[in-house]
Symmetry: C2
Subunit: 443 residues, 2 copies
Amino acid sequence: MEGLTKIEDLGKPRVVIVGGGFGGLQLAKTLADAPVQVVLIDKQNYHGFWPLLYQVGTAGLNPDSIVSPFRKILNDQENFYFRLAEVERIDAAAQVVETSIGLIRYDYLVLATGTTSNFFGDELMAKNAITLKNVPDAIELRNTLLSHFEQALQMGDQEQLNSMLDFVIVGGGPTGVEMAGALAELRAHVFPRDYRELDLKQMDIYVVQSGPVLLKGMSAEVSQKALEYLQDLGVEVLLDTRVKSYDGYTVTLNNGQQLISRTLIWAAGVTGAPIKGLAPEAILKSNRYQVNESSRVVGYDNVFAIGDIAQMATAQYPDGHPQVAQPAIQQGEHLGENIKRALKGLPMLPFEYYDKGTMATVGRHRALADIQLFGRQYHLSGWIGWLAWSFVHVLALVSFRNRFAVFITWAWNYFTQDKGMRYIIGKVKAPLQEKEVEAKALI
Amino acid sequence: MEGLTKIEDLGKPRVVIVGGGFGGLQLAKTLADAPVQVVLIDKQNYHGFWPLLYQVGTAGLNPDSIVSPFRKILNDQENFYFRLAEVERIDAAAQVVETSIGLIRYDYLVLATGTTSNFFGDELMAKNAITLKNVPDAIELRNTLLSHFEQALQMGDQEQLNSMLDFVIVGGGPTGVEMAGALAELRAHVFPRDYRELDLKQMDIYVVQSGPVLLKGMSAEVSQKALEYLQDLGVEVLLDTRVKSYDGYTVTLNNGQQLISRTLIWAAGVTGAPIKGLAPEAILKSNRYQVNESSRVVGYDNVFAIGDIAQMATAQYPDGHPQVAQPAIQQGEHLGENIKRALKGLPMLPFEYYDKGTMATVGRHRALADIQLFGRQYHLSGWIGWLAWSFVHVLALVSFRNRFAVFITWAWNYFTQDKGMRYIIGKVKAPLQEKEVEAKALI
């Protein structure tokens, strides 16, 4: 498929956005009233609200309730065009991106492709760990954990049983902490009803965190509380500990300890995945694009980057902003306004990040928040933190349909203490091989 | 995995049910108060309400809203045990079934495995057609049709464009008719907003029906009305026509006509898929088990079959009951009562089918029903038929959660004229190959 792809030429400057996450979507919306053509390119036809992905992975929410098709979100925006495609290379000299559906010309190019899991070159880990970056990942986790419980019913061998029932989560950031809390809730309220034949005391949940605290970057008060909450729920938190290797069955830690688990969830580092074609100088060691204070990629006039893939060094954030939703959304909006200014011949303004705070939940009535309000910082926890967390997350969802679906499902789960989405539909990670079981059983 | 599988031995007669569709699930429930152990074996961990599967395939409903995990439905039933497994062979002499998780002993065995698509030996058709028998099928259909619309945006060649936008449905029974209606609604209300760049007059929907009427088996009045409804919606119905071959692109009909479509939906014949091990005399030409008036498989004392896989010849139904939900549910309940009688030493009673009628919908305000009430037959259509259809289908769903989810989604879709589940997540049937497109474009 050589040559230009078929997209109407509106005779207006064309802004091509690669990636429809928090930043890209916000930018597309901000440009609704601008005299430009907006072309969004994404590998998926939907925007996903990834902060709730762990709930899909633990049967608490439908995948459908946290995603919205781009066309549905933006089909009233006249200057919006969507293309389902992968971008393979950027040709900045010719002002085109090479994609799986042909060349797409741009006047402004905005890279908003986010990050990917970083296994630091450990291929065995990459193969055996479950990540949580998109909907298929979350569905695979749900299918895998439910399959393991079904298979555990047949297990006579104690070690085999442990391998099925135990979970190791690598990383003590928000995703790791929230995942551990959700698994602990399954153990306490859902699985005892579903699996009367199993002794659920045998289900162990480990969080392995390389540093000395959970929720690094949040306040010390909140970090300490997160640890207490998880310990209350019976989660074993291993601080200052690293996973050295994982073969799909045995987890070896840096202190020599071994854990047995067929489900290792990777909630640790992420890295950028820059698209080919830009000068090496534009890409930092973190694999993020180096951008100036207006999100412009260094060395280019009309190429920008926003969100997790962009690294904007500021006095407060010399290594770039935190790789979470808020900076991406704010950069998307800010760049949209800057493009409107540029079209009027005005200079672009520098971006300023307004940190609203950070939140994480450990489950029912237990959530944590550092909130910035009117220049002061507040720490919330317990009931109040949990209500605040729930409220903020429902409102942040993209469509009214999503908000409604999540709210109703949460209300349901709350009153029934249930997580109803317990079906195995689709792919299972490393399904059990008959041979493997027999071999292990001989040990 | 040789030897007996691990299931508690309750010291009570064990009823093993293979398949948790309408019949198997009803039987398990009916035995709740019986002095037996109920073991349900299914390849899936959920019960599905397949009459609404076509709505999942056309982005109108979430997969989640029509399925319920068996453990969730029945986890309060003390004598209920579930095993996720495939049954490979029956050893009636030893009273065990051989499964993927080991041998399972039974006192009563009930086969309720349903049917599979029947391509009458046409392997090319089996490979290229999309069937609609389970959730992964429906998701694949949804993904495929949405992908085709995305790809159609790039198509210059007119024939290529048609191959993407046109749909051929084989079979004019309820599934075929309902599917055609749902696609016509997408064309009329949803796709014009999503795909402003496409001329949707080019989207053709064909229903190919081998016989002279649609909805064979329903009243002549209703069949005629179904034809009118579909024609009103712009669906091309080809009666007395058969598909001779399909290579994934060209559909050749028995009258020599050719249609171009990359999406052929197979809603025609089904056939049984008997499990190995029973005597050939027990299996009829239809691949269904021959059962007596108490659902007992001929030649066996304690092996039974219910639902689509059972063929019980009666005066009114010499070729067995219709392969729909109602006979399965009624046979499940009746067999449950009969097993309770047998345990008390009483003889089993013969099954009598109470035909409540048949329904099909063609879309908004257009549904058809033949209803039996107090010995009289009523025909409903239009608004009234549509309300009746909606009401009956919501109530027939298995759990309150499903009923609520479907009701809310339908209300939503009704008022917005939208079908919101338009995401491509997972497998796509026969994704477009670059080479293929270039080759076709040369023609």
